[in-house]
Amino acid sequence: MSDFKTKVTAVNEVVIIETEGYLNNEGGQMVYDICIDKMASGSRKFLLNLNGTKVVNSIGVSIIIEVIEKLQEVEGKLGYYNMAPIVEKTFHIMGLSKYSSLYKTEELALLEF
């Protein structure tokens, strides 16, 4: 059983997924399932508020890559904010910053979304 939790809200057309806990395979799959579900109902812009996620693993982040891939198919967009320094560094090393956007705060993210 995963301790990973999510809270989903929306600001205008942007779906905001707030995460809490370890982003491992189960956490990544939870985020993926939410995005796929929302995409099916027409959402195209997604932001992850990672304030409550201080650790990740590459399997969980690989599932986020799958979300990016799905969003590319529908010209959608994914971004992240409130990232712990090591989470941000991990996303950079894995190259996610080339295909999605990293922001310091929700305000800055929403300005560009």
Binding site: Y22, V55, V61, S62, Y99
Partner: protein, 136 residues
């Protein structure tokens, strides 16, 4: 005199890598490592443990030695798995994964090497030892 060493024995169970990271966090504080250094050790340790779990047979354990040296922290992660040939592990690139059939996983070694100051692998068909060093 031998360097102070903390030893852990982890069963192959979900999320056991977090037991290792909590230990590493306490040791990093003891050594006055920075938050960034501590985070890098955490991430590298998670990836090394996951690899060790995946290469191990069910019922085995993995062993972690944290060796506290004057100017560095040396971490050895030892598994009794099937071993692997590092030269056959391709360096992943996201360009080759997005929109392609290539599996999205396979980032562990790249992350470990990017986050630690040095990494050495010794692998045979009876197990692998990964030795990682973070300098103070």
């Amino acid at each position: 005199m031998n360097s102070p060493t903390v030893e852990l024995k982890l069963p192959i169970l979900p999320n056991m890598e977090l037991v290792a990271t909590q230990t590493a966090d306490i040791i990093a504080k003891h050594m006055h490592l920075s938050e960034d250094q501590s985070g890098e050790i955490t991430m590298a340790l998670i990836e090394t443990c996951i690899n060790a779990f995946e290469h191990s047979k069910a019922g085995n354990n993995i062993f972690i030695h944290f060796i506290i040296e004057e100017s560095s922290l040396v971490i050895k992660v030892i598994d009794q798995g099937i071993g692997f040939d590092k030269s056959k592990v391709a360096i992943p690139k996201i360009e080759n994964k997005i929109g392609k059939d290539e599996r999205k996983r396979g980032w562990g070694l790249q992350l470990i090497q990017a986050l630690m100051d040095s990494v050495e692998f010794e692998s045979t068909d009876s197990g692998t030892t990964v030795t990682m060093t973070k300098n103070k």
